[in-house]
């Protein structure tokens, strides 16, 4: 079973209940975010994570999004004048967006629950996959094709992607695979790199995802990591080259 981040039970000074209820209360301004210690939530999540043998990447990703959204809201609440480089999204809009997303997500989670129930109820329905044993199979010939089709799909694949929309910036985060790929390429080409140099220009959320990618590479034994002490630069090198 995957970790259900939204149901993560919390026992904080200011709040007791599941994570998604905390978010709801915050968004309804019935709970002051400044009273909430987000570090406590992180600790609760990590404790839950530590009970498991494997790193649950989906759960980590989900938790990151929600925790960073909370951080964002909190930061805005504490420093209302600070320009966080996210023009066009005021705290209320961010909160509204988050609330809307939670509502939509809850509906789809319920739909997933419905599918799961359905699967259980239908688990005694067996049918054949693939062709019948004694049935004749016919090849399906392909009509003559235009070479121009190949050109047009390649052109589409080579087309510049659009500028990412800022509308969801506060809640979007890059896929882990992007950093996995990037770091693998660096390890292949250079054999060694300084983590801080690679991420210090990135937004905070990207930095966290990049760090998760690093841990994943370490876990898969693709990279070695060294750090002289807390907050010191992190050096990464190719595990097979050492």
């Amino acid at each position: 079973m995957a970790l259900a981040v939204r149901e993560l039970p919390l026992d904080l000074d200011a709040f007791e209940g599941p994570f998604d209820l905390l978010l709801t209360l915050v968004l309804r301004e019935e709970l002051e975010l400044r009273d909430v210690d987000i570090a406590e939530i992180v600790v609760a999540f990590l404790e839950r994570l530590a009970d498991r043998d494997e790193l649950d990447l989906d759960a980590c990703g989900e938790f990151l999004v929600l925790a960073s959204a909370l951080l964002e809201l909190k930061a805005r609440g504490l420093f209302p004048d600070e320009d966080l480089d996210l023009e066009g999204l005021d705290p209320e809009e961010a909160a509204e967006e988050l609330a809307e997303r939670l509502a939509a997500y809850r509906r789809f989670r319920a739909a997933a629950g419905w599918l799961e129930e359905r699967l259980k109820a239908e688990s005694d329905r067996y049918f054949r996959l693939g062709p019948a044993p004694l049935s004749p199979t016919a090849e399906r010939p392909l009509a003559q094709q235009e070479p121009a089709q190949l050109v047009s799909v390649l052109r589409a694949l080579a087309a510049e992607p659009p500028e990412p929309s800022l509308g969801h910036l506060v809640l979007s985060y890059p896929p882990l695979s992007r950093f996995l790929e990037r770091f693998r390429t660096l390890l292949r080409s250079r054999g060694r790199f300084a983590f801080d140099n690679e991420v210090d220009r990135l937004p905070r959320v990207d930095q966290v995802v990049a760090f998760l990618a690093l841990l994943e590479l370490r876990k898969r034994n693709e990279a070695q990591i060294a750090q002289a002490g807390p907050f010191e630069p992190i050096t990464v090198w190719n595990a097979s080259a050492s």
Binding site: W114, R118, Y126
Partner: protein, 197 residues
């Protein structure tokens, strides 16, 4: 007896033909397809299917006719599930994670839909869940997004078959699920009451 044979109801013969088609088909056949292939009217095909449904049903036959994925197909009787499980594995259904089920739900309701859109709804990247569902053939590519160029996905007929849905309308209304606002309010009030106490 001989007399009866001679005046055999012609629908009987059509029913046998339809049975034959169903036993060699590798996917559910629609009434339209059955009518085309048998060169009969859809009405007569429906009558024939009714006849077959009476013969090939749970408790009477080990082969059961079912209406699924917009068509008709044969499957094993439920009472034989244990023996069937010993004969074949069910990789399609086994080990569908919560992430996979949520992704599948988003695609079933909103498809064709791209990975970034799924990620926006679920709040997490959907890459591995999507890849797993493609591998299980429960979803398939359905062209690319006009704007972003991202590949879009939709559910396959196999999805409906595995979940025993006769068609897309067999899914419950999304609005009826979750009961968001009310449920949230109820939970809030509940917590407030307990905290107040």
């Amino acid at each position: 007896m001989e007399r009866l044979r001679l005046v055999e109801n012609p629908v009987d013969r059509l029913a046998r033909t339809v049975e034959a088609l169903l036993v060699i088909a590798s996917k559910p056949l629609s009434i339209d397809e059955l009518a085309t292939v048998t060169e009969e009217t859809e009405e007569r095909v429906e009558t024939a299917l009714g006849l077959i449904a009476g013969r090939l049903r749970e408790g009477r036959s080990g082969i059961v006719l079912e209406h699924v994925a917009g068509g008709y197909a044969l499957r094993a009787a439920r009472e034989a599930a244990e023996a069937c499980a010993r004969l074949v594995e069910r990789p399609v259904q086994r080990g569908l994670t919560q992430a996979a089920l949520e992704t599948l739900a988003v695609i079933a309701y909103l498809g064709p839909v791209s990975r970034p859109e799924i990620a926006r709804i679920r709040g997490v990247a959907a890459d591995s869940a999507v890849a797993g569902l493609v591998e299980r053939a429960l979803i398939a590519e359905a062209g690319r997004d006009q704007e972003g160029g991202a590949v879009r996905y939709e559910t396959t007929p196999l999805f409906e078959r595995v979940f025993g849905l006769s068609g897309p309308d067999d899914l419950p209304e999304l609005e009826d699920l979750g009961g968001d606002a009310d449920e949230l309010r109820a939970r809030l009030e509940d917590v407030a009451a307990r905290r107040g106490a």
